[in-house]
Protein backbone atom coordinates (compact mmCIF):
# COMPACT_ATOMS: atom_id res chain seq x y z
CA UNK A 1 0.00 0.00 0.00
CA UNK A 2 1.27 3.49 -0.86
CA UNK A 3 2.17 5.86 1.95
CA UNK A 4 -0.90 7.75 3.20
CA UNK A 5 -0.88 11.55 3.14
CA UNK A 6 -1.38 11.65 6.90
CA UNK A 7 1.63 9.39 7.51
CA UNK A 8 3.80 11.38 5.07
CA UNK A 9 2.81 14.70 6.66
CA UNK A 10 3.54 13.42 10.12
CA UNK A 11 6.97 12.13 9.06
CA UNK A 12 7.94 15.34 7.30
CA UNK A 13 6.88 17.46 10.27
CA UNK A 14 8.94 15.23 12.55
CA UNK A 15 12.00 15.36 10.29
CA UNK A 16 11.67 19.14 9.84
CA UNK A 17 11.49 19.64 13.61
CA UNK A 18 14.35 17.29 14.50
CA UNK A 19 16.77 18.05 11.68
CA UNK A 20 15.48 21.15 9.83
CA UNK A 21 15.57 19.01 6.70
CA UNK A 22 12.60 19.74 4.44
CA UNK A 23 10.91 16.83 2.67
CA UNK A 24 8.81 18.36 -0.09
CA UNK A 25 5.59 16.70 -1.27
CA UNK A 26 6.64 14.25 -3.96
CA UNK A 27 9.26 12.68 -1.67
CA UNK A 28 6.78 10.04 -0.51
CA UNK A 29 8.78 7.36 -2.36
CA UNK A 30 11.90 8.38 -0.45
CA UNK A 31 10.12 8.19 2.90
CA UNK A 32 8.64 4.84 2.01
CA UNK A 33 11.84 3.26 0.72
CA UNK A 34 13.89 4.47 3.68
CA UNK A 35 11.34 3.36 6.27
CA UNK A 36 10.59 -0.09 4.87
CA UNK A 37 13.42 -1.74 6.85
CA UNK A 38 12.18 -0.12 10.10
CA UNK A 39 8.59 -1.14 9.39
CA UNK A 40 9.69 -4.70 8.69
CA UNK A 41 11.83 -4.85 11.80
CA UNK A 42 8.85 -3.63 13.86
CA UNK A 43 6.60 -6.29 12.33
CA UNK A 44 4.22 -3.72 10.77
CA UNK A 45 2.25 -4.67 7.67
CA UNK A 46 3.50 -1.61 5.75
CA UNK A 47 5.14 1.79 6.25
CA UNK A 48 1.84 3.65 6.81
CA UNK A 49 0.83 1.18 9.52
CA UNK A 50 4.27 1.51 11.10
CA UNK A 51 4.08 5.32 11.10
CA UNK A 52 0.50 5.28 12.41
CA UNK A 53 1.57 3.10 15.33
CA UNK A 54 4.26 5.61 16.32
CA UNK A 55 1.95 8.61 15.79
CA UNK A 56 -0.48 7.17 18.30
CA UNK A 57 2.18 6.24 20.85
CA UNK A 58 5.27 8.41 20.23
CA UNK A 59 8.44 6.72 21.34
CA UNK A 60 11.77 8.55 21.33
CA UNK A 61 13.75 5.59 20.00
CA UNK A 62 11.40 5.08 17.08
CA UNK A 63 11.26 8.78 16.14
CA UNK A 64 15.07 9.00 16.26
CA UNK A 65 15.31 5.95 14.00
CA UNK A 66 12.92 7.56 11.50
CA UNK A 67 14.86 10.83 11.42
CA UNK A 68 18.13 8.95 10.96
CA UNK A 69 16.73 6.78 8.18
CA UNK A 70 15.69 9.90 6.27
CA UNK A 71 18.78 12.00 6.77
CA UNK A 72 21.45 9.59 5.57
CA UNK A 73 22.64 9.25 2.03
CA UNK A 74 24.39 6.71 -0.08
CA UNK A 75 27.84 8.00 -0.75
CA UNK A 76 30.96 7.17 -2.69
CA UNK A 77 34.70 7.66 -2.29
CA UNK A 78 36.06 10.85 -3.87
CA UNK A 79 32.44 11.68 -4.71
CA UNK A 80 32.20 13.78 -7.89
CA UNK A 81 35.99 13.61 -8.35
CA UNK A 82 36.67 17.21 -9.35
CA UNK A 83 36.39 18.79 -5.86
CA UNK A 84 39.02 16.38 -4.53
CA UNK A 85 41.23 17.18 -7.49
CA UNK A 86 40.85 20.92 -6.76
CA UNK A 87 41.58 20.24 -3.08
CA UNK A 88 44.77 18.28 -3.77
CA UNK A 89 46.18 20.29 -6.66
CA UNK A 90 45.28 23.87 -5.65
CA UNK A 91 43.91 24.26 -2.13
CA UNK A 92 46.44 22.11 -0.28
CA UNK A 93 49.50 23.64 -2.03
CA UNK A 94 48.17 27.15 -1.24
CA UNK A 95 47.57 26.22 2.38
CA UNK A 96 51.02 24.66 2.66
CA UNK A 97 52.46 28.09 1.92
CA UNK A 98 49.99 29.96 4.12
CA UNK A 99 50.41 27.60 7.10
CA UNK A 100 54.14 26.98 6.82
CA UNK A 101 54.63 28.38 10.33
CA UNK A 102 52.26 25.95 12.06
CA UNK A 103 52.56 22.99 9.64
CA UNK A 104 49.08 21.90 10.58
CA UNK A 105 45.79 21.55 8.68
CA UNK A 106 42.29 20.99 10.04
CA UNK A 107 39.48 19.93 7.71
CA UNK A 108 35.78 19.57 8.50
CA UNK A 109 33.67 17.06 6.58
CA UNK A 110 30.35 18.58 7.66
CA UNK A 111 27.92 15.91 6.50
CA UNK A 112 30.22 12.96 6.69
CA UNK A 113 27.62 10.20 6.40
CA UNK A 114 29.43 6.86 6.63
CA UNK A 115 32.86 8.50 6.40
CA UNK A 116 33.89 8.11 2.76
CA UNK A 117 34.48 11.84 2.24
CA UNK A 118 36.57 12.19 5.41
CA UNK A 119 38.70 9.13 4.65
CA UNK A 120 39.08 10.24 1.01
CA UNK A 121 40.46 13.57 2.29
CA UNK A 122 42.79 11.69 4.62
CA UNK A 123 44.09 9.64 1.67
CA UNK A 124 44.67 12.89 -0.20
CA UNK A 125 46.58 14.41 2.72
CA UNK A 126 48.70 11.36 3.45
CA UNK A 127 51.21 12.04 0.67
CA UNK A 128 52.88 15.41 0.52
CA UNK A 129 51.40 16.69 3.77
CA UNK A 130 51.51 14.07 6.52
CA UNK A 131 54.50 12.40 4.83
CA UNK A 132 56.37 15.72 5.16
CA UNK A 133 55.81 15.88 8.89
CA UNK A 134 52.70 18.07 8.85
CA UNK A 135 49.80 17.44 11.17
CA UNK A 136 46.47 16.88 9.42
CA UNK A 137 43.25 16.38 11.30
CA UNK A 138 39.89 15.67 9.68
CA UNK A 139 36.71 16.02 11.69
CA UNK A 140 33.65 14.27 10.28
CA UNK A 141 30.22 15.14 11.64
CA UNK A 142 26.76 13.86 10.81
CA UNK A 143 23.31 14.22 12.31
CA UNK A 144 22.86 10.46 12.40
CA UNK A 145 24.56 8.72 15.31
CA UNK A 146 24.17 5.43 13.47
CA UNK A 147 26.27 6.53 10.49
CA UNK A 148 28.78 8.21 12.82
CA UNK A 149 29.34 4.83 14.49
CA UNK A 150 29.79 3.18 11.09
CA UNK A 151 32.23 5.89 10.02
CA UNK A 152 34.20 5.43 13.25
CA UNK A 153 34.39 1.68 12.66
CA UNK A 154 35.79 2.35 9.18
CA UNK A 155 34.53 -0.98 7.86
CA UNK A 156 32.90 -1.17 4.44
CA UNK A 157 31.10 -3.75 2.31
CA UNK A 158 32.31 -4.84 -1.09
CA UNK A 159 29.56 -2.78 -2.76
CA UNK A 160 30.67 0.34 -0.87
CA UNK A 161 34.31 -0.27 -1.82
CA UNK A 162 33.38 -0.43 -5.51
CA UNK A 163 32.06 3.14 -5.41
CA UNK A 164 34.71 5.44 -6.80
CA UNK A 165 37.74 4.23 -4.86
CA UNK A 166 40.82 3.86 -7.09
CA UNK A 167 42.16 0.29 -6.79
CA UNK A 168 45.72 1.44 -5.90
CA UNK A 169 44.29 3.34 -2.90
CA UNK A 170 42.17 0.37 -1.88
CA UNK A 171 45.16 -1.96 -1.65
CA UNK A 172 47.21 0.70 0.13
CA UNK A 173 44.76 1.88 2.77
CA UNK A 174 42.44 -1.08 3.46
CA UNK A 175 42.69 -4.60 4.80
CA UNK A 176 40.17 -7.30 4.00
CA UNK A 177 38.35 -8.63 7.07
CA UNK A 178 35.96 -11.44 6.20
CA UNK A 179 33.71 -10.10 3.46
CA UNK A 180 34.41 -6.48 4.43
CA UNK A 181 37.26 -3.99 4.14
CA UNK A 182 38.78 -2.17 7.11
CA UNK A 183 40.45 1.25 6.92
CA UNK A 184 44.06 0.91 8.06
CA UNK A 185 45.01 2.44 11.41
CA UNK A 186 47.35 5.12 10.04
CA UNK A 187 44.48 6.64 8.07
CA UNK A 188 42.00 6.15 10.89
CA UNK A 189 44.24 8.10 13.26
CA UNK A 190 43.90 11.17 11.02
CA UNK A 191 40.11 11.23 11.22
CA UNK A 192 37.69 11.81 14.11
CA UNK A 193 33.92 11.49 13.86
CA UNK A 194 31.20 12.91 16.07
CA UNK A 195 27.45 13.39 15.95
CA UNK A 196 26.40 16.96 15.19
CA UNK A 197 23.22 18.60 13.96
CA UNK A 198 24.22 21.41 11.59
CA UNK A 199 21.49 23.59 13.09
CA UNK A 200 23.15 23.42 16.54
CA UNK A 201 26.33 25.13 17.82
CA UNK A 202 29.76 24.56 16.22
CA UNK A 203 31.59 26.02 19.23
CA UNK A 204 33.14 22.72 20.32
CA UNK A 205 34.59 21.96 16.88
CA UNK A 206 37.32 24.61 16.79
CA UNK A 207 38.58 26.35 13.64
CA UNK A 208 39.20 24.87 10.20
CA UNK A 209 41.33 25.54 7.15
CA UNK A 210 38.82 23.85 4.84
CA UNK A 211 35.16 22.95 5.28
CA UNK A 212 33.45 20.41 3.02
CA UNK A 213 29.74 21.20 3.22
CA UNK A 214 28.62 19.25 0.20
CA UNK A 215 25.16 18.09 -0.80
CA UNK A 216 23.58 18.91 2.52
CA UNK A 217 22.36 22.53 2.23
CA UNK A 218 19.93 21.38 -0.46
CA UNK A 219 17.87 19.74 2.26
CA UNK A 220 17.37 22.93 4.29
CA UNK A 221 15.05 25.90 3.84
CA UNK A 222 16.48 29.34 2.99
CA UNK A 223 16.62 30.69 6.56
CA UNK A 224 18.40 27.59 7.81
CA UNK A 225 20.85 27.68 4.88
CA UNK A 226 21.64 31.32 5.70
CA UNK A 227 22.15 30.52 9.37
CA UNK A 228 24.42 27.55 8.62
CA UNK A 229 26.54 29.47 6.10
CA UNK A 230 27.00 32.45 8.42
CA UNK A 231 28.12 30.20 11.25
CA UNK A 232 30.40 28.11 9.00
CA UNK A 233 32.12 31.39 8.02
CA UNK A 234 33.00 31.91 11.65
CA UNK A 235 34.77 28.56 12.01
CA UNK A 236 36.92 29.07 8.89
CA UNK A 237 40.41 30.36 9.67
CA UNK A 238 41.61 33.44 7.78
CA UNK A 239 42.56 32.39 4.27
CA UNK A 240 40.50 29.22 4.49
CA UNK A 241 38.11 27.58 2.05
CA UNK A 242 34.67 25.99 1.80
CA UNK A 243 33.48 23.45 -0.78
CA UNK A 244 29.76 23.12 -1.54
CA UNK A 245 27.99 20.48 -3.65
CA UNK A 246 27.80 21.03 -7.40
CA UNK A 247 24.16 22.19 -7.22
CA UNK A 248 24.67 24.46 -4.21
CA UNK A 249 25.59 28.14 -3.96
CA UNK A 250 26.04 30.95 -1.47
CA UNK A 251 24.56 33.43 -3.97
CA UNK A 252 21.34 34.97 -2.73
CA UNK A 253 21.70 33.04 0.53
CA UNK A 254 24.71 34.53 2.32
CA UNK A 255 26.62 37.12 0.30
CA UNK A 256 29.64 37.31 2.59
CA UNK A 257 31.60 34.85 0.46
CA UNK A 258 33.96 35.25 -2.48
CA UNK A 259 33.89 32.59 -5.14
CA UNK A 260 37.00 31.28 -6.86
CA UNK A 261 37.00 28.91 -9.79
CA UNK A 262 39.52 26.04 -9.73
CA UNK A 263 39.05 24.23 -13.02
CA UNK A 264 35.30 23.76 -13.09
CA UNK A 265 34.96 23.66 -9.30
CA UNK A 266 33.76 26.68 -7.31
CA UNK A 267 35.43 27.17 -3.97
CA UNK A 268 34.12 29.68 -1.46
CA UNK A 269 36.15 31.92 0.82
CA UNK A 270 34.85 34.27 3.50
CA UNK A 271 35.00 37.89 2.30
CA UNK A 272 37.79 40.09 3.68
CA UNK A 273 39.90 37.06 4.50
CA UNK A 274 37.46 35.73 7.07
CA UNK A 275 37.23 36.22 10.79
CA UNK A 276 39.59 34.62 13.22
Amino acid sequence: MALTTAAFDWVRTLVRKESAIVLEPGKEYLVESRLVPLARAAGATDVSAYVDGIRLRPDRRATTAIVEALTTNETSWFRDGAPFQAFSTSVVPALKQARAATRSLRIWSAASSTGQEAYSLAMGLKDGVVSEGWRAEIIGTDISSEVVEKAKAGRYSQLEMNRGLPAPLLVRHFTRVGTQWQVNDDLKRMVRFQQLNLTSSYAALGQFDVVFLRNVLIYFDLETKRDILSRVRKVIKPGGYMFLGGAETTLGVDDNWDRELIGRVSVHRPKNGGQA
Binding site: S76, F78, G81, Q158, L159, M161, N162, R163, G164, P166, A167, P168, L170, V171, F174, T175, R176
Partner: protein, 127 residues
Protein backbone atom coordinates in the same frame (compact mmCIF):
# COMPACT_ATOMS: atom_id res chain seq x y z
CA UNK B 1 34.83 5.00 -27.52
CA UNK B 2 35.24 1.27 -27.96
CA UNK B 3 35.31 -1.41 -25.30
CA UNK B 4 36.27 -5.06 -25.39
CA UNK B 5 34.30 -7.09 -22.83
CA UNK B 6 36.13 -10.28 -21.85
CA UNK B 7 34.14 -12.74 -19.75
CA UNK B 8 33.29 -16.43 -20.11
CA UNK B 9 29.74 -15.85 -18.91
CA UNK B 10 27.52 -14.75 -21.76
CA UNK B 11 25.03 -13.26 -19.29
CA UNK B 12 27.77 -11.19 -17.64
CA UNK B 13 29.09 -10.02 -21.03
CA UNK B 14 25.58 -8.88 -21.89
CA UNK B 15 25.26 -6.91 -18.63
CA UNK B 16 28.64 -5.20 -18.93
CA UNK B 17 28.37 -4.52 -22.67
CA UNK B 18 24.80 -3.25 -22.22
CA UNK B 19 25.87 -0.83 -19.48
CA UNK B 20 28.81 0.39 -21.57
CA UNK B 21 26.64 0.89 -24.66
CA UNK B 22 24.23 3.00 -22.59
CA UNK B 23 27.21 5.20 -21.72
CA UNK B 24 28.01 5.66 -25.39
CA UNK B 25 30.50 2.85 -26.03
CA UNK B 26 30.68 0.55 -29.01
CA UNK B 27 31.40 -2.93 -27.69
CA UNK B 28 32.99 -6.16 -28.84
CA UNK B 29 33.02 -9.35 -26.79
CA UNK B 30 35.35 -12.25 -26.15
CA UNK B 31 34.76 -15.38 -24.05
CA UNK B 32 38.34 -15.83 -22.80
CA UNK B 33 41.80 -14.27 -22.87
CA UNK B 34 42.92 -16.05 -26.04
CA UNK B 35 39.84 -14.94 -27.96
CA UNK B 36 40.37 -11.41 -26.63
CA UNK B 37 43.98 -11.38 -27.91
CA UNK B 38 42.65 -12.48 -31.30
CA UNK B 39 40.16 -9.58 -31.30
CA UNK B 40 42.99 -7.17 -30.45
CA UNK B 41 45.15 -8.63 -33.23
CA UNK B 42 42.41 -7.98 -35.76
CA UNK B 43 42.20 -4.30 -34.62
CA UNK B 44 41.23 -1.51 -34.25
CA UNK B 45 42.48 -1.08 -30.69
CA UNK B 46 39.65 -0.42 -28.21
CA UNK B 47 39.98 2.29 -25.52
CA UNK B 48 39.03 -0.10 -22.74
CA UNK B 49 38.97 -3.81 -21.98
CA UNK B 50 36.98 -5.17 -19.03
CA UNK B 51 38.54 -8.46 -18.00
CA UNK B 52 37.16 -11.32 -15.93
CA UNK B 53 39.73 -13.30 -13.92
CA UNK B 54 38.62 -16.92 -14.09
CA UNK B 55 38.07 -18.05 -17.67
CA UNK B 56 38.88 -21.26 -19.58
CA UNK B 57 41.69 -21.39 -22.18
CA UNK B 58 43.38 -18.17 -20.97
CA UNK B 59 42.56 -16.46 -17.69
CA UNK B 60 42.30 -12.70 -17.20
CA UNK B 61 45.59 -12.25 -15.38
CA UNK B 62 47.49 -13.96 -18.20
CA UNK B 63 45.63 -11.83 -20.74
CA UNK B 64 46.56 -8.63 -18.86
CA UNK B 65 50.19 -9.73 -18.65
CA UNK B 66 50.33 -10.49 -22.38
CA UNK B 67 48.66 -7.20 -23.33
CA UNK B 68 51.13 -5.25 -21.22
CA UNK B 69 54.03 -7.10 -22.85
CA UNK B 70 52.97 -5.81 -26.27
CA UNK B 71 53.92 -2.18 -26.89
CA UNK B 72 51.31 -1.86 -29.62
CA UNK B 73 48.61 -2.16 -26.97
CA UNK B 74 50.02 0.55 -24.69
CA UNK B 75 46.98 2.81 -25.19
CA UNK B 76 44.54 0.11 -24.05
CA UNK B 77 43.16 0.64 -20.55
CA UNK B 78 42.53 -2.58 -18.63
CA UNK B 79 39.96 -2.99 -15.89
CA UNK B 80 39.49 -6.29 -14.09
CA UNK B 81 35.80 -7.05 -13.46
CA UNK B 82 35.73 -10.16 -11.33
CA UNK B 83 34.40 -11.92 -8.23
CA UNK B 84 38.00 -12.38 -7.03
CA UNK B 85 38.17 -10.03 -4.06
CA UNK B 86 41.26 -10.84 -2.00
CA UNK B 87 43.69 -8.03 -1.22
CA UNK B 88 46.57 -10.02 -2.70
CA UNK B 89 44.69 -10.67 -5.93
CA UNK B 90 44.03 -6.98 -6.49
CA UNK B 91 47.72 -6.28 -5.85
CA UNK B 92 48.70 -8.99 -8.39
CA UNK B 93 46.34 -7.63 -11.03
CA UNK B 94 47.63 -4.07 -10.60
CA UNK B 95 51.22 -5.30 -10.67
CA UNK B 96 50.50 -7.20 -13.89
CA UNK B 97 49.28 -3.95 -15.46
CA UNK B 98 45.55 -3.65 -14.80
CA UNK B 99 44.59 0.00 -14.28
CA UNK B 100 41.43 -0.57 -12.27
CA UNK B 101 39.60 -3.32 -10.47
CA UNK B 102 35.83 -3.68 -10.10
CA UNK B 103 34.47 -6.46 -7.96
CA UNK B 104 31.29 -8.37 -8.89
CA UNK B 105 28.52 -7.81 -8.08
CA UNK B 106 28.59 -4.13 -8.97
CA UNK B 107 26.07 -1.40 -9.76
CA UNK B 108 25.99 0.66 -12.95
CA UNK B 109 26.95 3.71 -10.84
CA UNK B 110 30.05 1.88 -9.63
CA UNK B 111 31.03 1.06 -13.22
CA UNK B 112 30.52 4.69 -14.22
CA UNK B 113 32.62 5.93 -11.30
CA UNK B 114 35.47 3.59 -12.24
CA UNK B 115 35.33 4.82 -15.86
CA UNK B 116 35.35 8.38 -14.59
CA UNK B 117 38.50 7.62 -12.53
CA UNK B 118 40.11 6.31 -15.70
CA UNK B 119 39.04 9.36 -17.70
CA UNK B 120 37.01 7.01 -19.90
CA UNK B 121 33.49 8.21 -19.23
CA UNK B 122 32.23 9.57 -22.56
CA UNK B 123 31.43 13.31 -22.32
CA UNK B 124 27.78 12.85 -23.26
CA UNK B 125 27.09 10.72 -20.22
CA UNK B 126 28.78 13.06 -17.74
CA UNK B 127 26.40 15.04 -15.56
Amino acid sequence: MRALVVDDSRAMRKIIAGALRKLGYETVEAADGAEALKVLGEGPLPDLATVDWNMPVMDGLTFVTQVRANREYRALTLMMVTTEAEHGQIVRALAAGAHEYLIKPFTVEALEEKLSLLGLLPEVSQA
